[in-house]
Symmetry: C2
């Protein structure tokens, strides 16, 4: 069986396996052991086996995993076996960069539209991209049954944008706004707060400097 309710830590690693498999398949590698996957990913071999075993027994004892077969299984588990329709709210510089990045590099998702308060910021060179005003949001979401959204709006409007998304059926949100947002139980939010990532990084850049307290 696939898609048991797996721990977050496991789910976070699945796309990594997928990426490695894609690259192995491109190089015509047909069988891969957890040992080698370990070297490619940096996770331990036991952890990889456990992660995969969470969803079923996909390997062959004594041999390893068939790359194409495992890839198919992972696509299905993650939910990438069909293209996922997503929207982007907030088309400032970050929104633009993320949109462009996913349009060109992420074959598994389909950005069906972007939204901004002033869509006269129309000067984008991304082909086939529709830029809507915020008023169109409910209509577009409902028409395509969109479940996934990325938001790159200012912190002070993030909550109201999220409320609007949730009201119209969005169940998973990648939040780049530097603020906590509240959602109902059934909605999943992942915060990708780049300021916070950078600040905690700075902690580690100083790790070994002993700072004497000056007081």
């Amino acid at each position: 069986m696939s898609r048991r309710n797996a721990p977050k830590s496991v789910v976070k690693r699945l796309p990594v396996y997928l990426r490695i498999l894609d690259s192995l398949i491109r190089r015509d590698v047909e069988i891969i052991s957890s040992r080698v996957l370990s070297e490619e990913t940096g996770f331990t071999a036991e952890q990889i086996r456990k992660d995969l075993a969470y969803f079923g027994a996909f390997g062959t004892r004594g041999t390893g995993y068939n790359t194409s077969y495992l890839r198919e299984k992972l696509l299905r588990i993650i939910g990438l076996d069909r293209q996922t329709k997503i929207i982007v709210v907030g088309f400032g510089h970050l929104g633009k960069a993320l949109t462009r990045y996913n349009v060109s590099k992420n074959p598994y998702v389909d950005i069906i539209g972007v939204f901004d308060i002033n869509p006269e910021e129309l000067h984008t060179d991304i082909p086939d991209l529709k830029i809507h005003s915020m008023e169109m949001l409910p209509e577009v979401i409902l028409a395509d049954q969109v479940k996934v959204a990325m938001i790159t709006v200012p912190a002070d409007v993030a909550q109201s944008v999220v409320d609007l998304l949730v009201d119209n059926g969005v169940t998973a949100i990648l939040n780049f706004a530097p603020t906590k947002i509240n959602v109902p139980e059934h909605v999943y939010v992942h915060n990708a707060d780049l300021t916070i990532e950078l600040q905690s990084l700075i902690y580690y850049s100083l790790e070994d400097e002993k700072q004497p307290e000056p007081e």
Copy 2:
């Protein structure tokens, strides 16, 4: 004492506390309890107290924490009490967006330069920003003793860029390139792989759909 070697999970939350404190101080709030901090952050009050206690006893029993005092302590612990000099390698759309974002919104860091293979992509409107060619990297890092870098380069050159950074003394790297990079023990890497974030999000968007296996 401050700056003990705290667990990663704790360090990741420190900048969140800092942000809330900044906002409380702007609103002239002088005292805050772990209870209220809990509501603002979404973490439990016990966890917040434990996190802070890791570095010292900053509160007053029966009262709470003094916002300005706690902010000063956190700045010092994280290492933001002096402006941190950082560089950005890769000045494509994402690099540009991240640079702009931090220049305008993150007062604690100072982006002293950006690097790209073809710096003739000079058309940026960010004031005072220096765009260098890759050859300048060692010189600039060494001149300013830069310890922190963000990289937004293509996956296939990420490792060589990282090697160059590490050779010249960088000890903390925020990696947006969609690939695993290898570094020596003393260097800290945080991967901010946006494709992977988005893909694991998709897993959760499907959470409740029961998918019958069609085989």
